[in-house]
Symmetry: C2
């Protein structure tokens, strides 16, 4: 596995793949890899000739009071895990390499960022769009892989790619979970022992809520009750929206999503499902 | 020469070129072609295997009180001129084909649109960025060709491409002029006979202004005087800015630009030059 730190070197590698007619699968990450990321790599490996993983803790998607500085990092371990999973190239640029100057031009996720995580993280998804745009252009990938766990991110990137005709396919990969149901996340390391014990109740609350929706009931009070009874976390949001357009007009494909703030970790999870017969 | 009207067919053509290892030069236009456009095609032809010209009067870059409806169109004549100049494919989509739905996601040119033409055309350059982003992604061109006449457009597109790592090169092509100095423009047809006689004074005013700048003087009063004395148009702006970053801190590369509103046509022109020895 090769590690590339400069845009110039990445461009050369991409050019080599293109000239040889090889397809590229891109797995954008912020590192501190867990099984979820590795599943993205494995899926990319099946569908492409070469797998490029980016590891870049993107300052543009962190708010001033968020955890950019203390976001967990471990490049050595990441390199080993990525290689084992089948990554061909790691692209790990510095922030200066990615953002040599502040662009006057900006991308705004608009109303897509007005709910779910976007509500409490102003600018977050604009920062995500900024970095994925650069990565998509640099990688010239045939496919890019994202986990369903970050469903709002996925929906926004899918819209961006579709509406602006990016020449690549976005592949949604199912959330990878611990045996007890907790969605894998780099931020799970922030949980205290007690919180780690409570955290599987996020998934349980989603299942209770999904059943309520399918029964034609409002899922929110039942889910609030379950989370309040079973965790010490503070509910940030519980929302049922259409997917992937994220409106409140839910008629068929839906996302039921929640975020819970624990002492040092804010965890998110969601289920995407179809409501039959309205 | 082939005419393509759907995105699906364009994608197929692009894929054929890519598979054959052929380079693509993109010439984005709004049609009603003049010699300026044809010079872009000729330049593209020299530097690429295939030349793709888009003809699309982009509604997103016209304001509500601008000339979208009456913007001059003549597809038959355009096709003949484009073919003679060496165009391989015309891409002429409908507005519905380009914008099947309004995207929630937007691109903003920010402070780059706060001066020159952007001042009197709010949203114009955001609309330009919207359409060129789609065209760049669809065409997967190696190079895209723009005339220097629309210098602010060029500067903004150059920033967008550089800051967001689009895998294509922007080529700036010198403004093509009538024998009397008037910059070629599709909007010149709107000029009355008298106005057409006055219009070469835009270039003359720029030359007077450039000499003033090189002499260390303020170019604006001299240019205002010249335009007032020699044309019936209303001056929209005269500005000296750094190029291509469009700030008022002019130390080396500069753009001197003006816009004059005639009865039915708003004309723009500019000179880009280097101020030596500050």
């Amino acid at each position: 596995m090769r590690k590339i730190e400069t845009i110039e070197e990445l461009k050369e590698w991409v050019q080599e793949q293109k000239s040889a007619g090889l397809s590229i699968g891109l797995v954008p990450t912020m590192g501190f890899l867990h099984e979820g990321h590795l599943t993205l790599v494995e899926t990319a490996k099946q569908e492409n000739d070469a797998v490029l993983m980016s590891i870049f803790v993107n300052p543009a998607q962190f708010g001033p009071n968020e955890d950019f500085e203390r976001y967990p990092r471990n490049m050595e371990r990441d390199m080993q895990l990525a290689e084992t999973a089948g990554t061909d190239v790691i692209f790990a640029p510095s922030a200066d390499e990615m953002y040599p100057r502040e662009s006057a031009i900006t991308i705004s996720a608009g109303r897509l960022a007005d709910q779910l995580c976007g509500k409490s993280r102003p600018g977050h998804f604009d920062g995500v769009l900024k970095v994925v745009t650069k990565l998509f252009h640099l990688a010239q990938a045939d496919r890019a892989y994202f986990g369903q766990k970050d469903a709002q991110q996925l929906a926004i990137i899918e819209s961006w790619v579709a509406d602006f005709n990016f020449p690549l396919e976005i592949r949604r990969v199912a959330t990878v979970r611990e045996p007890d149901g907790l969605a894998k996340s780099s931020r799970n390391v922030y949980l205290s022992e007690q919180e780690r014990g409570e955290a599987p109740h996020l998934k349980k609350a989603l299942e209770i809520g999904k059943q309520a929706v399918l029964d034609g009931k409002n899922p929110v009070p039942l889910m609030e009750q379950h989370l309040t009874d079973n965790t010490s976390g503070k509910i940030d949001y519980i929302q049922l929206l259409s997917y992937p357009d994220l409106t409140e007009n839910v008629v068929s494909d839906a996302i039921l999503a929640l975020a819970v703030q624990f002492e040092k970790a804010r965890l998110i999870d969601n289920l995407i499902f179809t409501i039959k017969g309205n």
